[in-house]
Amino acid sequence: MSSAGTSTKIETFIQTANLLSRMNRSQPGARESRTLYYRMLADYYNNIHRARQEGKLIAAHTVFFPTEVLYAMDIVPMHMETTTWLSAFLLKEQSELLAKGSELGLAPEICSPHRGVAGMFALQEIPKPDVILWSNLICDNTAKSGELLMELTGSPGYFLDNPFQDSPGELDYLIGELKEMVTFLEEVSGKKMNWEKLSEIIERTNKEIDLYREINELRKAVPSPMNISGYLELISADYLFPGQVQAIEYLTKLRDELKSSILNKEGAVTNERFRLMNLFIPPLHLLGSLVNIFDEQGAVSVAEPMFTRWSDGKLDPSKPLRSVAQKSFLIPERRSMYGPLKGPAIPDIVESAEQYQVDGAIYWAFMGCRHTCAAIKVIKEALNEIDVPMLTIDCDIIDPTVNSEDEVREQLMQFFEMLEDR
C-alpha cells in the first residue's frame, strides 16, 4: 500500500494482467504479441505502483496526451481513461465509479469514462497523482475534466490547449503550449527536461509509426490475420508507451506474427466469412463475448481507420518539442475526429473500406461521445455509395446498463444474416 491513497486497484490490475499474460502464454497457438500486450499493461501499472518508492512523480492525463514529454522527464504517466476502461474490461467494477461520479454532481450525459475518472479519484482507489494534465484533444469532456480533478486530488495541473485546424500559426501555438507545460513540469518536479532523451524518444516514435503503417498494410491480406480484440491492443501501445521500448517490442513482434500468418495463409478466425470495418470502440465490458461471436460467425475486424490510419509524415528528432507537437497532428484520432469534418475523416473511411475489401461496417455509437456520433449519417451515406452496409449500435463504452449483451448479439446476428444474403 502506498502512502498516498490505496493502490489495491492498481495491484489488482497488475495481478490480472500478469495472470492473463501467463494464461495466454500457456495456450497452444497463442500469439506472443498478446503476451507482450498484457505484460505492457502490467509494466505500466507497475511503474505507477512503484513511482513513490522510486521518487518519481505521477502525472495523470487525458487521452491522446503527448506523454513523450513525461517519459523524457522521468515522470510516470497515468492514462486516466484507460484506467477507468480497465476497471470495466478487467474487473467489471465500473458501476461504483460511475455512481460516485454522479454523486459529485456530474450529469449522466457526460462521457462515462470521465464520470468514472472523477469517481475513481474521489474514492481514492488509486495512488494520488502529483499533477493533473488535460487537453481539449479530443473533445469537451477531456477539456473540462481537469479542474474538478485538481480539486478532488488537491494537485496542481496544466491544461494543454490543442489548436483546432492546421492553419498557419496553429502548430506554433501548440509548441508554445508544450514549452509552457515543460516549464510547469520542471517547477513541480524539480527536474529538468532531458532534451536528448526526448530526441531519442522521437527517433523511436518514427520507428513506431512506421511499424503501425506496416501493420496496417499487412492487415489488408485475405484472410485477415487479426481478430476484433486485436485493434484495441494495438492502439494501446501508443497510448501507454509512445516512443518507448515496450511499444516497439510489441509492435515488432506483432508485425512479424502477422507476416508469418499471411505467409501461411492463416486467418485470425477459422472460417473467414465477414470482413468488417469497426468504427469507434465497442463496449469494453462486452469485449469477451464479442470475440466469441465474431469467432463463431467467422467475422474479423480488418480496418478501424478512426484509430489506426496515421497521417503521412516523419518527425525530426533534432527538433524534439516541435516533433512532439507534430506527432499530435499525425495521430489517427486527430484525423478522424478532430478538426472540421471536411477534412480526411470520411475519405479515410471510404478508402479503407475499399482497400481492405470490407463486406460491412459496424458503428459503435457511444452515447457519451457527441462529436463522433454526429458523423454517423455522413459516414453511412459515404459507405452506401460504395455499397458497404453499416450497422449502428447504440452503446456505452463502460456502462453495462445502457444495453445488454443479448441485444448486441441480436443486432449483430441480424447484420451477419443480411451480409450473408448479399
Partner: protein
C-alpha cells in the same frame, strides 16, 4: 400563447420581429436589395467583421419551443445537444434558406458539428470556422488574432472587396452602442422594483441579434425612453439569476416569474455573455481590438480557467443582489454540465442556493420545472426569515 398588449409599443415591435424570425421583413428587404445575410453560431464569432463587409449577421437559434426533432436526430444523432439539433432541424427544413453564409468558431462539440453538418447538407455559398483557443494568455490572443485576420481575408476574397479600417471602426462603434444600451437596460433591473421583467428582457435580446444593429439601436433608445416613463413595477419574492446553457425562450423565464420570482439578471450566451464587454480601440489596430474583445469577453464554460467565469458570476450576483440562482442545462450540453459541481460549491461558499434544472432547448417550463422552481422559491422564502 399569451398575447398581451403593453404600454411599451417598442417592446411589441421587438416581439413582432422575434415572432417573424427567421423570415423577418427587414431581412427580406435586405435580400431584395441584393445584399447578403450571414448566420453565426457562438459569441466567439466577430460580428463586426461581417457587419463591416456590408453583410447582416444574424444569430442562428433554434425553435422557440420544445420540438420533435426527428430529422435532426437522424443527422446529428440523438446525443448532440438539443440546441444544435433544434437549429439543424430549422436549417434542414429551409427556414434559413436565405443565408448566404455561415460562420462558426471551434467552440464546443455541439456547435462545431452543427457547423460541419450544416455545411455538408445545406446549401451555403460561404462558410468559415475560426479556431478559438481556450485560454486567455497572450499567446492565445495571438492565435485568435491570426484567426480573425484569416477570416477577414477569406471574406474579402470571397466578396472581392476590401474591408478597411474605417469600416471596421464604424462597425465597432455601432456594436459598442448596442452593448452600451443593453447595459443600460440591465442597469434598470438592479432596482428593487424593475420596469422590465426577465422574460421581457429576453425578447429584447432575441431581437438584438436578429435586426440590423442600427435599427436595433434606434428602437432600444425608444424603449429605454418608454421604460423611464412607465409606471410598471415588477417585483418578486426573490431576486433570481438564470444561468447555464444557451437559452433564449422568454416563456421559460416567464414561467419562473409567474411563480413569484423576479429574474433580475441572467448569465447566458444569449444575454450578458453576448453584450458584456465593449471593444476598446485604445491605440491598437481596430482588428486587433476586435479580436482582443471577443476572446476576453464574458467567458463561455469552454474557457480555461473556469474561475474566470465563476468570478464574473459572483460579481453579478453581488451587483444585482441576487437571492438564488437557477441553472438550466440543456440535454447533452457537456461544458456547462462539467461546470455545475464547481459553481455549486463556489456559490455555496457565498451562501447562494442554486436550483439545477435539466431541460431541453426551447422549453417553456413544464410542470416538473414549475414544481422545482416553486419549491426553490419556497426554500428561499424560508431562508429569509
Amino acid at each position: 400563447m399569451n398575447t398581451k398588449s403593453t404600454c411599451l409599443p417598442t417592446f411589441e415591435r421587438f416581439r413582432a420581429v422575434n415572432k417573424a424570425f427567421p423570415k423577418t421583413q427587414e431581412i427580406s428587404e435586405i435580400k431584395q436589395r441584393g445584399e447578403k445575410v450571414f448566420g453565426w453560431l457562438c459569441t466567439y464569432v466577430p460580428e463586426e467583421i461581417i457587419h463591416a463587409a456590408g453583410i447582416l449577421p444574424v444569430r442562428i437559434t433554434g425553435y422557440p419551443r420544445e420540438m420533435e426533432l426527428e430529422d435532426a436526430n437522424a443527422y446529428l444523432y440523438i446525443n448532440n445537444c438539443s440546441f444544435s439539433r433544434s437549429c439543424f432541424q430549422m436549417g434542414i427544413s429551409g427556414e434559413y434558406d436565405y443565408l448566404d453564409g455561415v460562420v462558426a468558431g471551434s467552440t464546443c462539440d455541439g456547435a462545431r458539428r452543427l457547423f460541419d453538418l450544416w455545411r455538408h447538407y445545406i446549401d451555403i455559398p460561404y462558410s468559415h470556422i475560426l479556431t478559438v483557443p481556450r485560454k486567455f494568455t497572450s499567446r492565445a490572443h495571438s492565435l485568435y488574432y491570426d484567426q480573425v485576420k484569416l477570416f477577414k481575408s477569406s471574406l474579402e476574397q470571397y466578396l472581392e472587396t476590401h474591408i478597411d479600417d474605417a469600416k471596421l471602426l464604424n462597425s465597432i462603434q455601432v456594436y459598442n452602442e448596442a452593448r452600451g444600451k443593453l447595459k443600460k437596460l440591465y442597469e434598470l433591473r438592479k432596482a428593487d422594483k424593475t420596469p422590465i421583467s426577465g422574460s421581457e428582457t429576453m425578447e429584447v435580446l432575441n431581437a438584438s441579434f436578429r435586426m440590423t444593429k442600427e435599427s436595433f439601436n434606434k428602437h432600444l433608445d425608444i424603449l429605454l425612453d418608454e421604460l423611464s416613463r412607465s409606471r410598471e413595477k415588477h417585483h418578486g419574492e426573490a431576486r433570481l439569476m438564470v444561468m447555464g446553457s444557451v437559452m433564449n425562450n422568454p416563456e421559460f423565464i416567464k414561467s419562473i416569474e409567474d411563480l413569484g420570482g423576479l429574474v433580475v439578471t441572467d448569465e447566458l450566451c444569449t444575454s450578458t455573455r453576448y453584450w458584456s464587454d465593449p471593444v476598446v480601440v485604445d491605440g491598437v489596430e481596430p482588428l486587433e481590438a476586435i479580436s482582443k474583445r471577443y476572446l476576453n469577453n464574458y467567458p463561455c464554460a469552454r474557457m480555461v480557467p473556469s474561475e474566470e467565469r465563476f468570478d464574473r458570476i459572483k460579481k453579478m450576483i453581488r451587483e444585482y443582489r441576487v437571492d438564488g440562482v437557477i441553472s438550466q442545462i440543456i440535454r447533452y450540453c457537456v461544458p456547462y454540465a462539467h461546470d455545475l459541481p464547481l459553481i455549486t460549491q463556489r456559490l455555496q461558499e457565498i451562501g447562494i442556493p442554486i436550483l439545477s434544472l435539466d431541460v431541453e432547448y426551447g422549453t417553456s417550463g413544464s410542470g416538473q420545472v414549475r414544481t422545482r422552481v416553486q419549491a426553490f422559491l419556497e426554500m428561499l422564502e424560508a431562508r429569509k426569515r
